[in-house]
């Protein structure tokens, strides 16, 4: 779709950096550890984002660079080796260790790729050591997952390649639902990232892959370099998105339409039933989405087409036109799409438009509520199970809840 020319802005960006991806990635891959090499700010960020998870002996930590490292009094690589050895001694169950680059480690040009290679040599085969960047200067929020998976692609085995690969971390419950659907369609499927890092799926020429998330540009590029074929599809949000996503695989594997219909019909019907309950409340409501995760365009499509909402502005930190080729044409005519951010100007536009619902981050949400706007904080959309048929109703409910709440509190006050 080329009729939409996005507004491109540069200014203050009120977004998370890619380090935040650790918070859900470490839950997904149960034997991986994420070691950020950065500053106290990085440690504080991950701690703030992880909330109470930080206390559950989590599988992430920060190697804080201090003045001795900067002054060259300590050899950063020796220091890192020491920290990693201490960490692995403490956590012998770890099988994959990610050295995660940050803004400070990149600005001082600490070669973490080389460090990962060296440490991989030291600790293999027990522990594999990989490196990616989750820095704010390179990555925005969910791009941290892209960087992580991209770093992992070269380690995927070639032999025994799965015919279909689903790429992008999904909550286990969603992954299981999709596995059952593909099973019923007769399509052998593997998921990446895996639940255990020792069970990496193989990828070879001809492997076809579906993206479960819209923020995986680099991972997709590297998979294609290995000969895998991307199946273009909408993203599996709502009944329509999920059907379109499954159909792309079904078409590629030449599944008879009758079988596809039989397998998907119960899910489609359940999703439609669940959505109907929310349609009445959300239809006609005007929604404004601030940039956050790159989920905004597919979610806006879902809100507009399946819940009848009006889109005021759809902001995204980064617009990948090729991966959104099945999404953009489904957006209503004349929608304002914005890429990047100047948060003050965007807030001006938002206040002027007085939307019924604002989708935004936690730094802005209470501020806008205090100004009388109703908000849905966007991070929940990344942490909650929202993909697929069975979650379509839950996804709609996430947007309906703030409006229901506002109504209830207003009635109580009256």
């Amino acid at each position: 779709m080329n009729r939409v020319i996005p507004l491109r802005e540069r200014g203050q960006r009120e977004v998370f950096c890619g380090l935040t991806g650790i918070v859900w990635l470490h839950r997904k891959v149960q034997d991986a550890f994420f070691l950020v090499v950065g500053s106290r700010t990085c440690a504080h960020l991950v701690q703030s984002a992880a909330g109470v998870m930080i206390f559950a002996e989590p599988r992430f930590a920060t190697a804080i660079i201090d003045e001795r490292d900067l002054a060259g009094l300590a050899d950063c690589h020796d220091e890192l080796d020491r920290v990693v050895a201490r960490l692995l001694a403490r956590r012998p169950e770890i099988r994959t260790l990610f050295l995660v680059g940050s803004c400070p480690s990149e600005v001082i040009k600490l070669d973490l790729a080389r460090a990962a290679q060296r440490l991989d040599g030291v600790h293999a085969p027990q522990v594999r050591v990989l490196n990616y960047s989750g820095s704010g200067i390179e990555t925005t929020f969910t791009q941290g997952e892209d960087a992580c998976l991209a770093a992992w692609v070269p380690r995927l085995p070639r032999e025994g390649a799965a015919p279909l690969l689903v790429v992008g971390s999904l909550p286990d419950v969603v992954e299981d639902q999709f596995a059952r659907l593909f099973g019923a369609l007769g399509i052998p499927v593997r998921f990446f990232p895996p639940r255990r890092s020792t069970e990496l799926p193989a990828v070879g020429p001809g492997t076809r892959f579906l993206l479960a998330q819209p923020f995986l540009a680099e991972t997709a590029r590297l998979l294609e370099e290995r000969g895998a074929v991307h199946l273009a599809a909408p993203f599996p949000f709502g009944e329509e998105g999920t059907t379109g996503w499954l159909r792309a695989a079904a078409a590629a594997f030449e599944i008879p339409p009758a079988l596809f219909d039989a397998v998907t019909r119960p899910g489609r019907e359940r999703a439609r039933t669940a959505l109907a309950a929310h349609h009445a409340r959300l239809a006609g409501k005007r929604v404004f989405l601030f940039p956050d995760s790159q989920l905004e365009v597919p979610l806006a499509r879902f809100l507009a087409r399946e819940l009848g909402m009006q889109l005021v502005e759809v902001g995204t930190p980064y617009l990948h036109r090729a991966h959104l080729a099945h999404e953009l044409p489904l957006l209503p005519e004349g929608v304002t799409l914005s890429e990047g951010q100047d948060v003050e100007r965007q807030l001006d536009r938002c206040r002027a438009a007085r939307p019924d619902l604002v989708v935004c981050g936690l730094g802005l949400a209470n501020t806008l509520e205090a100004e009388g706007l109703t908000t849905k904080w966007s991070i929940e959309l990344v942490f909650s199970p929202v993909h697929g048929y069975e979650q379509a109703g839950d996804l709609a409910e996430l947007f309906a809840r703030p409006l229901v709440r506002k109504e209830k509190l207003a009635n109580a006050a009256a």
Binding site: F16, T20, Q47, S48, I64, N366
Partner: protein
Amino acid sequence: MQLTLWTYEGPPHVGAMRVATAMRELHYVLHAPQGDTYADLLFTMIERLPRRPPVTYTTFQARDLGGDTAELFKTAAREAVERFAPQALLVGASCTAELIQDDPGGLAAALNLSIPVIPLELPAYQRKENWGAAETFYRLVRALAAPPAPKTEGRAPRCNILGPTALGFRHRDDLQEIRGLLGRLGIAVNVVAPWGASPADLARLPEADFNVVLYPEIAATAAQFLQRQHGQPFTRTVPIGVQATRAFIAEVAGLAQVDATALLAEEEARATWYSRSVDSTYLTNKRVFVFGDATHAVAAARVASSELGLQVVGLGTYSREFARELREAAKGYGVEPLISDDYLEVEAAIAAAQPELVLGTQMERHVAKRLGLPCAVISAPVHVQDFPARHSPQMGFEGANVLFDTWVAPLMMGLEEHLLRMFRDDFEFHEGAAPSHLGRAALPVEQSASADPVPAVPSTTRWTTDAEHELRKIPFFVRGKARRNTERYASDRGLATITLETLYEAKAHFSR
């Protein structure tokens, strides 16, 4: 490099944000990469502020690194001044911007702004949040305080209240308590800062006769400056606890040259009587471990020891800047001071001290949960539940009441749980029944089976069934200590088996 799983303090620029956010008519332009805006949500979510912190970030990205990050900073500063029209501007760098060596102070000066610009040098790789707050407040006061005005004779004594910031543990309510006390002494409050103050208010600081320092971690540097430059003495007593509040009243009255006899005669903390009432006798010499920022930890230890009659078995802080004060206090209790920001070290110290109550931060709350110990929060860092809607100061007489309730409540629950276990064979209080404050649902079977919080200590000594059974009759919150003492007693004497007699011999041996 330091391996860190959890950090007690954020970086120093978060301290600067706490000062800026507490104030009015001030804006902070922070040279920082994309992502550092995460700190906004500490204020909007944990403290639930209805406004964004007054901070503009340059949010530079990789493509900006090269020549134009300096330009980016200048644009951000210029636009922030136009948009927010503050009375003064703070400028500084976060950890990453510190490395790229743009000079925010110089760049801002080149803009020739019509308002004062205060540059901040916050060494992010050496210092932390509280230091950053103290330094920022000091720089602001130094830059903005006007020359001392001649004193007018015959007016009411006047003081400033220094220290309350955004994201401060109970700062909002402490301030209200202290204002109340000062009001009843007839002392006028000139300026409260940073909380609610504008840069113009900071200019008026020297008009006061003296300063009340509520939180030395934040206000001591500025107070020392005001003493040096403007001849204002400042208070040293932090009014946490009944005794400290009374000492504070006496100190303030001395500085203001007013009579505090009437106020001191009206003893009004219910906590004093509650602590004397016979119901509190069971608190006597209960072992308490205290950890937090230095001010709150030292104050809590004093209250615990001399106002609640507990026994301080551990005292520590993560505030290195106030290590001396804490070491001094630890001497008084005969305990080894713990100065550390490594929570694993704190956890080990707590486990070793075998306390019956932990007073600490959010982190110690979780350590205590893991060790099965009662705990109350006395200091930042804290979570959203410790920014309560209700009035709950730590300072003053009402603060003392709050401390009593907050600290004793988890112990009461401990006692309740013990009683439930004592009557475990009773038809109403069987082992599967959850404590009443957790509702009526029965615990899942495997949970109740593993509910014995006696840590499994690797040991060569064997317990006879009788002795093991007897051990289980001991209240769960001292059972771990009993087990450890008995095993130590047995191994010191080369006993391979612990019998009922060994248990009671050890008890007699270690009885306090």
